[in-house]
């Protein structure tokens, strides 16, 4: 497999426990600058565990996550400050807060008032519907709108890398399509993306490289175009008969 041009995020031999369960056994993932890398796998493979561990919420038992060659700090708020932002599974919006307040929360680490305003506009150009819902409580949005808000909230921190955990979960196919189109747009603006999906085919279609996570281990990895063609992958993850 060809290595990415410039390494950005390196996950080295990661072991993570989720309660008493040894959820990740020595996972290695490389994410190059400006890439979209996807990790596919079935429910319970350890995909979300991987994301929570990178973001600093789950403690790392062994191994390391490196950013530009340096180990990430342990506290989640320090990791965000380095420019890594997580959009977790099921969005986890602040449902009692308004859409605007959710976006302000996203920009919590920043002090530049004008930059924050202009980034809000940037989010509205990506997802115009949010502008109409600005003072509405986030909990009252539709599923698709909630996902747009969750991504926008993460973008408000001006991340270098975005961790997207199952963004397509529970969304109608058409909504998923337009959502994935915006993920490409976000990458084109220079944000590196690590995408975790059960929806393997669509995730592989928009990503540069893919990893297959199986019961806490990386089973295989290859450029996404190759993975899509791989008959074993097609059978196991795309629901096709070989």
């Amino acid at each position: 497999m060809t290595a990415p041009r410039e390494m950005y995020l390196e996950i080295r031999n990661l072991h993570v426990y989720y309660g008493n369960i040894h959820a990740l056994h020595g996972v290695n993932v490389d994410v190059g600058k400006g890439e979209i890398v996807c990790v596919v796998g079935v429910n319970g493979a350890g995909k979300s565990t991987l994301m929570w561990a990178i973001a600093g919420v789950l403690p790392i038992a062994q191994g390391a996550v490196l950013l530009n060659g340096a180990r990430l700090p342990a506290a989640p708020h320090e990791i965000v400050n380095l420019g890594i932002s997580l959009v977790p599974e099921r969005r986890r919006l602040f449902s009692a807060l308004s859409v605007r307040e959710n976006l302000i929360m996203g920009a919590m680490r920043r002090k530049d008032k004008e930059g924050i305003e202009s980034d809000m506009e940037r989010c509205f150009s990506l997802y115009p519907v949010l502008k109409e819902r600005l003072s509405q409580r986030a909990g009252t949005l539709s599923g698709g709108e909630q996902q747009m808000l969750a991504i926008s909230r993460a973008l408000m921190s001006r991340p270098m890398a975005l961790l997207l955990d199952e963004p397509s979960l529970g969304l109608a196919p058409l909504v998923v399509e337009s959502l994935f189109a915006t993920i490409l747009k976000i990458r084109d603006e220079g944000v590196t993306i690590l995408l975790v999906e059960q929806n393997a085919l669509q995730a592989l279609e928009i990503s540069d490289r893919g990893y297959v996570l199986q019961t806490g281990e990386i089973a295989t990895s290859a450029p996404s175009a190759e993975l899509i063609e791989n008959p074993l992958i097609r059978k196991a993850y795309l629901g096709e008969d070989a």
Binding site: A55, V57, A75, P76, H77, V80, N81, S85, L86, P88, R90, R92, F94, S95, A96, L97, E101, I104, M105, G106, M108, R109, G139, L141, G143, Q146, R153, S157, G170
Partner: protein, 290 residues
């Protein structure tokens, strides 16, 4: 007579509200009832007392000193007694037990060092009264009511308009996500405890002026706790309204029925309300859309 009773009730209710706000703030962010809050109120009263009797400061400075002192004590309380449990994700019951321990410890510390004597504040208002529509209203009562309302209103503005306030409300919903937004949650929790302590300081000074200062004076927070539950634990407007309702009802009962009936009434009200509205008058509804 009625107006006078009402104002007395509102002033007591205002003080209940100040204390209830402390319970509500901490409950909303850590989901446990901080039974050490009464001890912080008691210590706030002693701080105020020391400033008033030893340094002969005026009421404004006494309240300010007590606000800062009780605020800092409240933060220390969290750091020493709750932070370790919190980091180990202990069930909230354990935090509550730790809080009870703190309360007993602090009260006995005061017994052992300052003693069990009852103290009185110097008279700031010299029994001044204002005559309105034939009733004479105590200036202290009016002042206590005004300060309580003013403080809670200021807190409301802080919680809804400032960045830190928004972060506190976000933390109430989801502390983990709050940390993923770049918020240092340990610091956020300290801010919340400082706010609760600051309100305890104001309440302590007013309680001390209205009644007496003694080691177990914090037990009056039972009432504030009832007020917080009536209003809906975790809700600021709820704490205010719960406190005022309780204060007014209690004063009306002791004036027109009998002061022996006062607590019977308060607790009956609490139980009836909990049966009809388990979340209190303004309890938070939680909603999540998947």
């Amino acid at each position: 007579m009625f107006l006078q009773t009402l104002v007395t009730g509102l002033s007591i209710g205002g003080i209940y509200s100040l204390m209830a706000v402390g319970y509500s703030l901490i409950f909303s962010i850590l989901s446990f009832s901080n039974f050490a809050h009464g001890a912080v109120i008691m210590l706030g009263a002693y701080i105020g007392l020391a400033l008033a009797t030893q340094l002969h400061l005026g009421l404004g400075l006494v309240v300010a000193g007590s606000v800062v002192g009780a605020g800092i004590l409240s933060v220390c309380n969290e750091r020493v007694a709750y932070a370790a449990l919190r980091r180990r994700r202990a069930p909230s019951l354990f935090l509550m037990i730790s809080a009870m321990g703190c309360s007993v410890f602090l009260e006995n510390m005061v017994y052992a060092t300052i003693g069990s004597r009852f103290y009185t504040f110097p008279e700031f208002f010299k029994r001044q009264v204002v005559h309105v529509a034939g009733s004479s209203l105590s200036l202290l009562d009016l002042f206590a009511f005004a300060v309580s309302i003013g403080a809670i209103f200021a807190l409301h503005i802080f919680i809804t308009r400032t960045k830190t306030g928004i972060a506190i409300r976000a933390g109430v919903g989801d502390m983990t996500m709050c940390s993923l937004m770049g918020v240092n949650t340990d610091r956020l929790i300290s801010i919340v405890f400082f706010l609760a302590g600051a309100f305890a300081g104001v309440a302590g000074v007013f309680l001390g002026i209205k009644y007496l200062v003694y080691p177990t004076m914090g037990w009056v927070t039972n009432k504030a706790y009832i007020a917080a539950v009536i209003g809906g634990l975790g809700s600021l407007p709820g704490a205010l309204i719960g406190g005022l309702i309780l204060g007014v009802v209690e004063t009306l009962v002791s004036t027109y029925l009998s002061s022996v009936m006062r607590d019977v009434f308060s607790f009956t009200m609490l139980i009836t309300l909990l049966i009809c509205l388990p979340n209190g008058l303004m309890g938070l509804e939680t909603e999540e859309k998947v």
